[in-house]
C-alpha cells in the first residue's frame, strides 16, 4: 500500500492522412480559413479514414510502446482506454483491446469516456488503483476519431477537430516522484455546449435526427453530428484553467515558478496564448503541438506530453503540470515529478 506512481513512458499514434488547409479553403472559402487559422492556430489536421477507429490508433500506440521499450505484456494488470468514440455501445472497447494486445486474464480493463479531460482522469484512476495495491502496472490508452462525427459543412468544428491516439505506461516510481496530486472537476450545467445530441438512448436515431439544420452562421449539421458552442467553451476555459492551476499548486505548496513545464489540452492556440498571458507563463515553459495536427480531443494531452518529452523538455526531476478541460464540462489537472526510472524516449513511427 501507498506506492508512489508515475508515467514511465508515453507515445502517440496519429493517422497518416491530413485534411489540409488548402482542401478546406476549397470547401469553406479563403476568408473563412484565414479566420480559422488566426482564431485557432490550426492549419492542418490529421484525420482517420472511415473504418479506422480510435481503438485502432490506441492499439498502434500501445504496440509501439510495448515493443520499443520491450515491455513484457504479462506484467500489465490494468488497462484503461479513454475514448468518446468507442467501437460499440457494448462491449466496452477496453476488453476488445485486451484481446488484441494479448494481455493476461488477471488484467482489469475498462473505458473512461470524458473527452478532453479523460487522460488525466484515467491517470488519477491508475494511480489510485496502484496506490491501493489493486494493480501494479497500467497501460493508459487514448484514442478518438471525432472527425467522423462532424458534418462536412460545419465550419465551426471541421477545421478544428482531429483524430489521434496515445499509450502511457504507469507504474511504481521512487518515493516522492511521479504524481504529486490531482485536481478534478465538473460543471454539468455546461453539458449542452459540446455534444452529439442523437444516437444514444435519450434521443435515438430517427428520420428527424438526420435532418440537416443550417445555423445563423451558415454551419450545417444534424442532431447526429457533434455540436460545439465555441464561445461558451472558450469562456469556460479562460475561467476554469487559471483557477484550477492556482488551486492545485496551492494545495501542493508549490508556486508557478516551481513548475518547469505547463502542458495544456491543445484546443486552440489563440486560447492557449491568452492563457499563457493571463497566467504569466513564459513560452519556453510550455509546448505546443497543434498547428499541423489539430485538436484530437482526449488525446492532445498525452500527445503533447510525448512531443515535449521527445523535444528534450522533460528530464528526470522536472516538475510538469498537465491540464485537460472541455466536454462535460469537465476538467482535470495533475502535477508530476518526472521519475528517475522513466524509460528513454523513443521516436514514434507516425509523428
Amino acid at each position: 500500500m501507498g506506492r508512489s506512481t508515475g508515467i514511465l513512458a508515453v507515445t502517440s499514434a496519429l493517422p497518416e492522412k491530413t485534411l489540409t488547409y488548402e482542401e478546406l479553403e476549397q470547401r469553406f472559402g479563403p476568408e473563412t480559413m484565414k479566420k480559422v487559422l488566426s482564431g485557432s492556430g490550426i492549419r492542418h489536421r490529421r484525420v482517420a479514414p472511415r473504418g479506422v477507429c480510435g481503438s485502432d490508433l490506441a492499439y498502434d500506440a500501445a504496440c509501439q510502446l510495448l515493443d520499443d521499450h520491450q515491455i513484457d505484456r504479462q506484467t500489465i494488470d490494468l488497462l484503461i482506454f479513454c475514448t468518446q468514440t468507442p467501437d460499440y455501445f457494448l462491449p466496452t472497447t477496453a476488453c476488445i483491446l485486451h484481446e488484441r494486445l494479448r494481455l493476461k486474464p488477471e488484467c482489469a480493463s475498462f473505458d473512461i469516456n470524458l473527452g478532453c479531460s479523460q487522460y488525466i482522469y484515467a491517470l488519477s484512476v491508475a494511480h489510485s488503483m496502484i496506490y491501493a495495491g489493486v494493480a501494479s502496472r497500467a497501460l493508459v490508452l487514448t484514442g478518438d476519431t471525432l472527425s467522423q462525427t462532424l458534418h462536412p459543412m460545419d465550419r465551426s468544428v471541421v477545421p478544428l477537430l482531429a483524430d489521434g491516439g496515445s499509450a502511457s505506461l504507469v507504474g511504481e516510481v521512487p518515493e516522492g516522484q511521479g504524481f504529486l496530486g490531482f485536481k478534478l472537476g465538473t460543471d454539468g450545467t455546461g453539458h449542452k455546449y459540446l455534444m452529439i445530441p442523437a444516437g444514444g438512448f435519450r434521443i435515438p436515431i430517427s428520420e428527424k435526427t438526420s435532418n440537416e439544420i443550417t445555423d445563423t452562421e451558415g454551419n450545417v449539421r444534424t442532431q447526429q453530428n457533434l455540436y460545439m458552442n465555441g464561445a461558451a467553451i472558450f469562456h469556460f476555459a479562460i475561467s476554469v484553467v487559471p483557477t484550477t492551476i492556482h488551486s492545485i499548486l496551492s494545495e501542493l505548496s508549490l508556486s508557478m515558478n516551481d513548475v518547469d513545464l505547463f502542458l495544456f489540452h491543445q484546443a486552440n492556440k489563440y486560447m492557449l496564448d491568452y492563457l499563457l498571458r493571463k497566467l504569466k507563463i513564459l513560452p519556453e515553459k510550455t509546448h505546443f503541438f497543434i498547428e499541423d495536427v489539430g485538436n484530437s480531443s482526449g488525446s492532445t494531452v498525452p500527445i503533447v506530453l510525448y512531443e515535449a518529452w521527445r523535444a528534450g523538455k522533460i528530464r528526470p526531476g522536472a516538475l510538469v503540470l498537465m491540464i485537460g478541460f472541455g466536454v462535460g464540462l469537465s476538467w482535470a489537472a495533475t502535477v508530476v515529478r518526472w521519475p528517475d526510472n522513466a524509460l528513454n524516449v523513443v521516436p514514434n513511427r507516425t509523428g
Partner: protein
C-alpha cells in the same frame, strides 16, 4: 484601459474605425461580427478590463451600447 482605448481595440476586432462604434450602432451591420469576433471580444474584456463576461452577453448584444453597458463598471472611478 480607458473607455477610449477599449473602443479603439474593439474597433480593431471588427476592422472598422472607432468613430463607427456609437452606442446605437447595430453590431449586425459589421460583417466581421461573428463567432471569431466573440472570442476576441471576450479576451479584450477579460484581459483589458478584468471582466469575464458570459459569452451570451456578447453574442446577444444587439448594439455596441449593449457591450458598453456590460463593461460599464470597469470605467467607473
Amino acid at each position: 484601459m480607458t473607455q477610449g482605448e477599449f473602443i479603439s481595440e474593439f474597433a480593431q476586432i471588427l476592422d472598422v474605425v472607432p468613430a463607427e462604434l456609437q452606442p446605437e450602432t447595430e453590431l449586425s451591420t459589421f460583417c466581421n461580427w461573428d463567432s471569431v469576433a466573440y472570442l476576441a471580444a471576450m479576451v479584450l474584456i477579460d484581459e483589458g478590463l478584468g471582466i469575464t463576461l458570459r459569452p451570451e452577453v456578447i453574442s446577444n448584444a444587439k448594439t455596441f451600447g449593449d457591450i458598453l453597458k456590460a463593461v460599464d463598471s470597469a470605467f467607473q472611478p
